[in-house]
Symmetry: C2
DNA sequence: CAATTATATCGTATTATACGATACAACAAA
DNA sequence: TTTGTTGTATCGTATAATACGATATAATTG
C-alpha cells in the first residue's frame, strides 16, 4: 500500500501530464529553473543563481547572459552596491515560464467547468492550503 | 481580479517551487518529457515520441538512443510487428523522472504532518478529483 | 515482388552547459 | 590612499544535446 505522499505525487504528476501546455518553446531545463527562481523569490542576482543551480559563478553568469539575449530577463544594478545586478523577468519571460510550468488555462477551465461549485471550491481551498503551508514550512 | 484558473496556477507553481526535489541530475527537458510520456501513457514507440515532441522520426530515434545509453529506458520489440519498438522506463529511469517531476516526499510529508486530518483528507480528495477529471477530459 | 512503414545511423550545423583563467568595477578595511 | 575582497563578465576549451536530410536495413502489406 502506497503511503500518502506517493499517492499525492501520483495525482500531482497525472494532473500535470494531462493539463500542461503543449510545449512549443525551445527552452531548456536550466532556463526554466532560473526563471522559476526569479519569479518566486525576489532579490536574485548571479550569485543566488549559481547557488541555486549549484554551478560556478561564471557558469551562472553565462546562463544569465543567454536569457538576457533572449529577452526573457533584464538586469538592473543594485543602487546600494553597483557591483550587483538584480534580475527580473520580462513580460516575455513570464509568458515562456508560464507556458512551461503552469497548467494550460483553457484545459484547466474546461475541467473546472465540469465540476460542481462545491468541488471547485474544495480544489481551490486545498491548493491554497497546500501552497501556504509549503511556503511557511522550513525544510 | 484574477480568474480562477490564474489563481489555481499561482498555487500550483508555488507548491512545486517550494516542494520540488533539489535538482541534482544533469537531465534535459526533452529527456523528462519523453520519460513522462512513457510513464503516463502506454504503448510508446519512436513514432509516438516524434509526434509528442513534434520532431522528426530520426531525431526521436536519437533521443531514444541517448536515454537507452543512460539506462533510463529499454526497448522491446513488438511481437505483432517487429519493426516497432516498445519503450519502457527502467527502475533508474523512474527514479530520475520522479526526482525531476514529483514533489519531494520528505518535504510533502512534513507539510502534511503539520495539517490536521481533515485538511489532509481535503487535499487528497481535491487532487484525486482533479486528477480523475483531467484524465477523462477531452481537449 | 514491389511498395510502404518503422526505425537506425551518419554527417552536419547550431546551441547549451560547464569551468578555469583572467579581467574589471565597486566596496570595505586598514 | 592603498590594499584586499567581492560581484560579475569574458574568453578559451571541452563535452553534450538538439535537430534534420540523406541514406540504409528490416519487416510488413498488398
Amino acid at each position: 500500500m502506497k503511503n500518502k505522499a506517493d499517492l499525492l505525487n501520483q495525482y500531482w504528476t497525472d494532473i500535470y501530464f494531462h493539463l500542461h501546455y503543449i510545449h512549443t518553446d525551445k527552452i531548456t531545463h536550466q532556463a526554466i529553473r532560473i526563471m522559476q527562481l526569479i519569479d518566486k523569490q525576489g532579490n536574485i542576482g548571479v550569485s543566488e543563481i549559481a547557488s541555486f543551480l549549484n554551478v560556478s559563478h561564471n557558469t551562472a553568469s553565462e546562463h544569465v547572459k543567454r536569457l538576457e539575449n533572449k529577452q526573457f530577463i533584464i538586469k538592473k544594478r543594485d543602487p546600494a552596491d553597483e557591483r550587483k545586478a538584480f534580475i527580473c523577468l520580462t513580460g516575455r519571460g513570464k509568458e515562456v515560464l508560464d507556458r512551461n510550468t503552469s497548467l494550460d488555462q483553457e484545459k484547466l477551465k474546461q475541467v473546472l467547468n465540469e465540476l460542481d461549485e462545491k468541488e471547485q471550491c474544495a480544489i481551490e481551498q486545498a491548493l491554497k492550503i497546500l501552497s501556504e503551508r509549503a511556503k511557511q514550512c522550513k525544510f
